[in-house]
Amino acid sequence: MISDLLRIEGLRVYYYTRDGVVMAVDNVDLFMKKGETIGLVGESGSGKSTLGRAILRLVPPPGRIISGKIVFDGLNLTELSEEEMRKIRGKRISMVFQDPMTSLDPLMKIGDHIVETIMAHETLTREEAEEKAIKLLEQVGIRSERFMDYPHQFSGGMRQRVGIALALALNPDLVIADEPTSSLDVIVQFQILDLMKELKNLYGMGMILITHDISIIPGIADKVALMYAGQLVEFADAKSFFNEPLHPYGKALLESIPNIQHSDQKLKYIPGNPPDLINPPKGCRFSPRCPYATEKCREEEPPTIMVGHHRLVKCFQY
């Protein structure tokens, strides 16, 4: 039996703001096996980064994990001490932050930063660590001649790639990559995604890839987790999802993707506004914007249903 690398159950992460409680992650379940890649997608503000940060217990205040379990390789992360958690971060679970400067130090040279990260966790000499750092940077397309530069001397995409190099530096079991390619041209993007695939095949690295760019998902992810308003509304293998999304939000989302091969199509978007996570819509959170919504949808919250093999959807239609 293959046990899960990560099992999230009933996770709630709320931000306690002046205006009320933002229910950014609201009762989310998620499972992943070793070496699996999950594409985590959803509307801007739907809670993707919050979920990613919660796994590493890095939710900034006034945010808090309210309830739920995050079991990683048999360890319940929500119960570990801060000390124990620190040993896991970077080494076993690493994160590529949406803001690349989160993981960079403006006063430290790029090369030194990577070298020190490596040396803090592995017993290598300075020379060995430097060699490894140079190789890592080259793998993400940054030449060794830039080793001595500071972050402000790098372009947006170059900083992003350093963030990726840092996250991969210690061969973690799980990488949470939050919009890692949002400012990379398609060629460099492919190079990075290929590198991640290679690490997955070589070391069985698992990945949660948070991205707004759904068109890259079929090429890299095994599964798709779709979030809407703090909840997971569909969880399916990537192929089935792209062939036929079940949740009405997923359907609408796929219809909005522009296809560069079609000439002059009009842009489509989902009518209505992103929901307010302090006062989320009653019943199904997508009901104000859903073309299939019924009276029941507006009153009751739909349960999460298993459809076919291991496919989950949160909608009354199933």
């Binding site: 801007s44 949406q98 001397q153 398609v186 909005s256 989902i270």
Partner: protein, 326 residues
């Protein structure tokens, strides 16, 4: 007369090498971030720049709005040479030119509420204050999908998600109703649906206000939708430029072709051939001789290594820099 005209624009940044290397070579090295870029954008036009990460797009945008000084070249805005404006004149220009920065985490004032971040430019330029300002800001927040606007008005930047911050940055640039906006990857963290809505808003405002955009994007599907003209950059230079239709239907430069072939198609059943580029990304400190793309170009020949191809007009509104394209 074009609204914006850029002539042979250059920006070289000095970079440090290790102490030993400096001792050995005794010269300062420069990153040739922008190395002789020329183009024009007409009033009311969307001029897009796409190209490899690190090829000089942001630097070009920052030079044009005069946040940094060029190493060489000239910038004309509305026929006036703005390359070395300063003081009061530069301040006046700023009201007409706005920039949406690439990183929405660094570009908002963390101590100001969102409402103040967006409304501040209105006050600085003496356009609106108090209630009036508040009303304009609320309207703009709603337009970019930050609803309920009153909640977002009172929130601080750190309380917002990546895509929410990007929308604040868009709102802040738009609120002054400028003539010209440099938009540097303005929607790179926004899901496809909301993105379509923001793009439509940008176009709608362009039409209302006769706005001109310099639109920097790595996303060619977005470029295809929004642009009138597109320039493809590689290592500090424009390698191909022209009307959108031409660039997408009849790309000539081998780099443009490689770029277009790599655009993912959102369908797992479609397998496409992407043109693989060999070799590593060359150095902007010591760029390759001749054509800068020759180290990775599938069509490179001897002349490519020796002579630099000029950006030449091959058709009305289509310019290419390649020895193999006549």
């Amino acid at each position: 007369m074009p609204l914006l005209k850029v002539v042979d624009l250059k920006k070289y940044f000095p970079v440090q090498r290790s102490f030993l290397e400096r001792l050995l070579s005794r010269k300062i090295d420069y990153v040739k971030a922008v190395d002789g870029v020329s183009f024009e954008a007409e009033k009311g036009e969307v001029f897009s720049i796409a190209g490899e990460s690190g090829c000089g797009k942001t630097t070009t945008g920052r030079l044009i709005v005069r946040l940094i000084d060029p190493t060489g070249g000239k910038i004309f805005f509305n026929g006036i040479d703005i390359t070395s404006l300063s003081g009061e004149e530069l301040r006046k220009l700023r009201k007409r030119m706005q920039i949406i920065f690439q990183n929405p985490y660094a570009s908002l004032n963390p101590r100001m509420k969102i409402g103040e971040n967006v409304g501040h430019p209105l006050e600085i330029h003496g356009i609106a204050y108090g209630r009036e300002k508040e009303k304009l800001v609320m309207e703009m927040l709603e337009k970019v999908g930050l609803q309920p606007a009153s909640k977002f008005y009172n929130a601080y930047p750190h309380e917002l998600s990546g895509g929410q911050r990007q929308r604040v940055a868009v709102a802040r640039a738009m609120i002054l109703k400028p003539d010209f906006i440099v938009a540097d990857e303005p929607i790179s963290m926004i899901d496809v649906s909301l993105r379509a809505r923001i793009l439509e808003l940008m176009i709608q405002l362009k039409e209302e206000l006769d706005l001109t955009y310099l639109f920097i994007t790595h996303d060619l599907a977005v470029a295809k939708y929004i642009s009138d003209k597109i320039a493809i950059m590689y290592l500090g230079k424009i390698v191909e430029m022209g009307e959108k239709e031409v660039i997408f239907s009849d790309p000539k430069h081998p780099y443009t072709n490689a770029l277009l072939s790599a655009v993912p198609v959102p369908d797992p059943n479609v397998k496409r051939k992407r043109i693989m580029l060999k070799g590593e990304v060359p150095s902007p400190i010591n760029p390759p001789s001749g054509c800068r793309f020759h180290t990775r170009c599938p069509l490179a020949t001897d002349i490519c290594r020796r002579e630099e191809p000029k950006l030449v007009k091959i058709d009305d509104n289509h310019f290419v820099a390649c020895h193999m394209v006549k």
